[in-house]
Symmetry: C2
Subunit: 204 residues, 2 copies
Amino acid sequence: MPLADAGSAAPATRAVVSSAAVLDAALTLFATRGYHGTALSQIAEALGIRTPSLYNHMRSKQALLETIVSRTLDDVLADFHAAVRDVPDPAERLRRATRVYALRHATHRREALVVNRDATSLPEPELSRIRERRREHEQAIRAIIADGTRRGVFSVGDPALASFAILEMSVSIARWFREDGARTAEQVADEFAEFALRIVRHRP
Amino acid sequence: MPLADAGSAAPATRAVVSSAAVLDAALTLFATRGYHGTALSQIAEALGIRTPSLYNHMRSKQALLETIVSRTLDDVLADFHAAVRDVPDPAERLRRATRVYALRHATHRREALVVNRDATSLPEPELSRIRERRREHEQAIRAIIADGTRRGVFSVGDPALASFAILEMSVSIARWFREDGARTAEQVADEFAEFALRIVRHRP
DNA sequence: CCTACCGATCGGTAGG
DNA sequence: CCTACCGATCGGTAGG
């Protein structure tokens, strides 16, 4: 039966796929080749199905990106609020906020790469809503830094610059972190939390 | 003469274009919409010419990206070496290396955005050569940090983590810096150089 | 610099 | 889940 297994794209058995599986395959491919650099045919091939079958599990390619970005931003904000809840001390708040953000970028690398690379490919009004959530997070970090500076436990010229630096150095973890590398995600997250406190010149 | 000015794509006079102009238009569009999100027809339209005319000034779309990325990386390395030449003190070396890198990301935002977003879209063997130059820069920063740590003027657990953090927080400047913003490129660069010294816990 | 044109591939639909 | 197919657009070439 040469036709039955002619090429790796033709599976021996008929594949069964879920929305979650489509999203996961899209996540991997978008993270690797970018949203515009990924064809739906590649997502289908990764799942062992034909392109039109994808439409049983999604509305459109764009909806896939929208779901990935939107969920990720919601999770980032939820992480943040859970991490700082009932923590009044600015230094401890900043440490926990940075740790959880850094940790997420080590453990959810694909999501982070897609959000950072391709979120701007979404159309309005989704794009504005996305920008608003990122802004919300940045402002929350900035507020912690401003609070600590006001109280004299931090020393920083411009809380906005410090918050950009802290957030973006953490985002970079998604670019180089390897699960089988020398340091665990937790070790990296702790170290970056320490960097954050150093940036705002917190005296331990 | 309705046909002569039907639509903004039809210029009144015949446009004359140079390789530099094509590269510049590509730079702007790649930075805004990404390499795969940009069509050659958009580059042509921005220049007021037809798509096939672009081929008088370039070899291919990919060659455009290659030129942008390659030149930018060469410039980054040249900047670095010029900045630290004849500066033996690790703290001053790190300050200057960070300042010049941060400054470049404020003044060459488009280049930085394209390199960071789309360099991986290049094929081998170009991709390896690009990675090698980025690695070279990262290793040079790491060596400064390791040197300062050895001499006891820095205190950092892992020079690699610190160098990633310093470089990547600087890269982020390209994402948010505005020429008409509250701070000049030089002010931002100085502040980020200070952040770098704080990350390695240099005592001033 | 242009018009005319190419094969390939894109996201998506019809219909089963 | 599939095959068959769609119009649109892609990067690029021929030839002037």
